[in-house]
Amino acid sequence: MDLLFQQTLNGIMVGSVYALVALGLTLEYGILHIPNFAHGVLYTLGAYLTFLAVAALGYNYWLAMACAMLVLAVMGIVIDRLVYQPLIAAPHLNSFIAAIGLIYIFKAGMLIIWGPDFKRFPPINEEVINFFGATVTIQRIIIVLVTAVLIVLLNLFIKKTMAGMSIEALAQDREGALLAGINVKRVETMVFAVGSAMAAVAAALISPIFLVYNTMGDAVILKAFVIIILGGMGSIPGAVIGGYIIGLIESLGGAYLSTDYNEIVAFAILIGVLAVKPTGLFGTRAH
């Protein structure tokens, strides 16, 4: 019983990170209709930047997170303007290939700067509290709470602000949005900034618990893709719910089934779902 509860808490924590990464991806997909494979390396970069700010510059953890968000937002804008915008009219295949090029650039770049070694954060929020019989560190609770707050804020932003509504309008109908006088390019750039900043938050939240290393984004980005396919590409609730579901399946599966093949569960589910419903569980149309 204790194990079940502990693993459920773990699942929610990991699921929060997945949800944040998947949210950024799904927003980008909803607008540009391209899967941004390079999202994972931005997540890794976010972790390194937070580490750099905390360990080398001695910043406060929250300030470090904010810096990482800011840098990543700028990075998202640059990538969108330099790489994805020029390819908007080309076949989708070209954007995938460009994304793979970006992966090479960022991964090798980070390898040059930070090397292949694992980096460990100085202890952050490691006080343990007792939570209905399970022991959790403060940091784990912070992860869950910050994610919940961000999801609510993002939802308010999209539903209540003019900028947010233009994102939704663009996702629903590109020509319609153009006719209504929405500056499509600006919205796209904004989405990339927001999406990349969310990847930075996700990485900054989880990296004090796990380690920071060059390939840390690989598995996360793939799982985020599984999540947004299952949840329907471009769907915000789909990304959130899918994130928690995959997080829970993984941590419960790891505890009760096999830890060796724990990581492939998500991918096997994906191929299984595609076999039954090619547009994803909640997807309505194929692109």
């Binding site: 290939i97 090798a108 590409m233």
Partner: protein, 327 residues
């Protein structure tokens, strides 16, 4: 001079000249290092050509190609080591196994389009990698498979024995399989099946509206492509003699993708040219280490933005410009 130019512009004569020149390579080149590089180029060219079939001609971004390369390589190695099969039966059996796996994966994933297909296949590639790493009893896990023997010699009439344990033997074997691949590909591209591949690439809906079974077409293209990539995987296994899980990972997929994109998607010679250039540059720039990968990335991004048809496409548009000026 003019007749010589005309002769050279004929594809078949040009092809024969190139084949003859390549056959001379092991005789002229004495450096073991360069022979090694050339053999790798031949092996990877086969892989690039096969990726081009599904991606360039049929328009489906298969991101599991490294996984299939790995399946072919591991299957060959294990058949030879655990069942004591000879190279040739192992080569064919491995290609069949890879094709069956490709068929089973193609069935669910090819029902999807565009991004969904790319992500689905990439996920499959990760599954293959993790299986190669964790299924220790079969694959040897992270330690890999060692001691894969070279193909046994073939005796020809007149007492000629072809040995594959030498570099030149491996060179001719790889070149032979590359020619077979090129021949198959040429025949497919210029057949009705090939036309339907390209029709699917241009528009799947339109293709099905004229009565072509698009699912069947995509499956044929996909299975043919993984059959061929398995051949290159087999060659790699017996040539290097050692396999580790990294050879089945998505990094291999990305590298082969780079070959195809740089040379020219959807052209016959493009993938080979791309493989030659990237491999040679990679060898020359080895001292740059990680900076080399940054350069790979930059090349991919720049080529796809400014020259989406790759070098072959660039040459073609240059030819057209010259032809237009001469008129």
């Amino acid at each position: 001079m003019n007749t010589l130019l005309k002769l050279l512009s004929n594809r078949w004569t040009l092809g024969l000249i190139v084949i003859a020149l390549v056959c001379l390579v092991p005789i002229v080149i004495t450096s073991k290092y360069w022979m090694h590089v050339f053999i790798l180029i031949l092996i990877w060219s086969i892989a690039a050509l096969s990726l081009n079939l599904i991606m360039g001609y049929t328009g489906q971004a298969n991101l599991a190609h490294g996984g299939f390369f790995g399946i072919g390589a591991y299957a060959t190695a294990l058949l030879m080591l655990k069942l004591n099969l000879g190279f040739w039966p192992a080569l064919l059996l491995a290609a069949l196994i890879t094709s069956v796996v490709g068929f089973l994966i193609g069935l669910p994933t090819l029902r999807t389009k565009g991004s969904y297909f790319a992500i689905g296949t990439l996920c499959f590639n990760v599954i293959v990698f993790i299986a190669a790493e964790r299924w220790e009893s079969l694959t040897g896990g992270a330690r890999g498979v060692i001691g894969i023997p070279p193909p046994s010699p073939i005796s020809l009439p007149f007492g000629i024995v072809v040995k594959f344990s030498t570099l030149s033997g491996m060179f001719y074997l790889s070149f032979f399989l590359l020619l077979v691949t090129l021949f198959i590909k040429y025949r497919i591209v210029h057949s009705l099946v090939g036309r339907s591949f390209m029709a699917v690439r241009e528009s799947e809906d339109l293709t099905s509206s004229i009565g072509i079974d698009t699912m069947k077409t995509k499956i044929i293209s996909f299975v043919t492509s993984v059959f061929i990539v398995s051949l290159s995987g087999s060659l790699y296994a017996v040539y290097i003699g050692f396999l580790d899980p990294e050879i089945a990972s998505h990094h291999v997929t990305f590298e082969v993708l780079l070959f195809v994109v740089l040379g020219g998607i959807g052209t016959i010679a493009g993938p080979i040219i791309g493989t030659i250039i990237v491999t040679l540059l990679g060898e020359m720039l080895h001292f740059l280490e990680a900076f080399r990968l940054v350069a790979y990335g930059l090349v991919l991004v720049l080529v796809i933005i400014f020259m989406p048809q790759g070098l072959m496409g660039g040459i073609r548009s240059l030819q057209q410009k010259i032809a237009a000026r001469d008129m």
